[in-house]
């Protein structure tokens, strides 16, 4: 995987369950950001030309390349709408979260 993977949070029982320093290892992810969204980007792969503008402009880095086009990791997308606003082919539309 090209990005840190989500892992299950386990409540520490013993001191030895805690890291020795003030943090766990790099890329230690235990919570998603999907719940922040009020709008959600929906991708039309047919319309996508793989220009990668959205990939370059996503502040979360959740748009990734896939077969010459792109795909979205919804676990960490916050629904900012930058991708939809900047797509020259209108291949990404923002819908209200919970619809469709």
């Amino acid at each position: 995987m090209n990005r840190p993977a989500l892992r299950k949070y386990v409540n520490p029982q013993y001191l030895s369950d805690l890291p020795e320093g003030p943090c766990y290892d790099a890329g230690h992810l235990v919570t998603v950001n999907a719940g922040w969204r009020t709008r959600k980007p929906v991708l039309d792969s047919e319309a996508c030309t793989g220009c990668y503008i959205c990939y370059m402009n996503c502040p979360e880095g959740v748009i990734f390349k896939s077969d010459g086009k792109v795909d979205i990791d919804y676990d960490f997308c916050k629904g900012c709408g930058i991708c939809g606003n900047g797509c020259p082919k209108d291949a990404i539309v923002m819908i209200r979260e919970g619809e469709a």
Binding site: N2, R3, P4, L6, Y9, P22, C23, Y24, D25, A26, G27, H28, L29, V30, T31, V32, N33, W36, R37, C51, Y52, I53, Y55, M56, N57, C58, P59, E60, G61, F64, K65, F76, K78, G79, C80, G81, I82, G84, N85, G86, M94
Partner: protein
Amino acid sequence: MSVVNKVRINARTITDKEFFYGHKACAGCGGSLAVRHILKVLGERTFTVLPAGCMSAVGFNFPQLCFDSNAIISTFAGTASMMSGIAAGARALGLKDYHVVGIAGDGGTADIGLQALSGAIDRREKVIYICYDNEAYMNTGIQKSGLTPFGARTTTTPAGENIKGTVTTKKNMFEIVAAHGIDYAATASVGYIQDFINKIQKASEVDGTSYIHVYAPCPTGWGTETDVTIDLAKEVVDTGLWVLAEYEQGEFRLNRNPKSFAPVENYVRRQGRFKHLEDEDIAAIVHARDAKWEQIRNSWKLK
């Protein structure tokens, strides 16, 4: 601008790896986009120093750690001192093929961290210092910094009957840094991401200190929609309010010299922080811009 020896990094060649992931920045945060690309361009073998500020606050949330390469939080004033220490440590260990980068906010750079930065440049530390400029102390609730522009409303420069927001103008960090005779300095904007990437790549090849100042809109502090971050970061350049330039070997070079500017009015009017400004205030902003551009066109290398 030429990048030597290496494959030019662009949308097609940039690594697929993400080193800043799952962070808690507000939706549409320009600063987080800057951090994402800095880490991608510099790669895995990078030591990153972040002082107190939004980007450290949103990246380190125990038990979560959203940096996927080596990163550490410094004191607010001490970004460049910690970078210098890391560079010395890496040298002592005989490490090869690595970068030391500092990523600090406008307050952390132009105000409280300026002394440490000045010292690091003076010693010619082999480090890359990047200031992401969201034009206020955002992490503590939008207080005015030395880089808050004229007219902007912040919580310490409110807009009311007597004073219309910030009455001072932005310190010119790019020229302050250049005045040290630094090896490489540049300005950039997240709205022109390829230009920013080129400059990060170039900084990574400099044998000495480099400084990049990147414009990074903040929807929360500016009162703007989350989806216009890139648009604003383009527009600020197109209006001439933010200048894309480089400083090298004692010379300033303008990267973009537009024949005409996009209207300042459009840029200002879509931001809550400028909502109270009247036409005469916008005219003052335009006047200051024109005076600056005249000086630039008379004394810098154009392209």
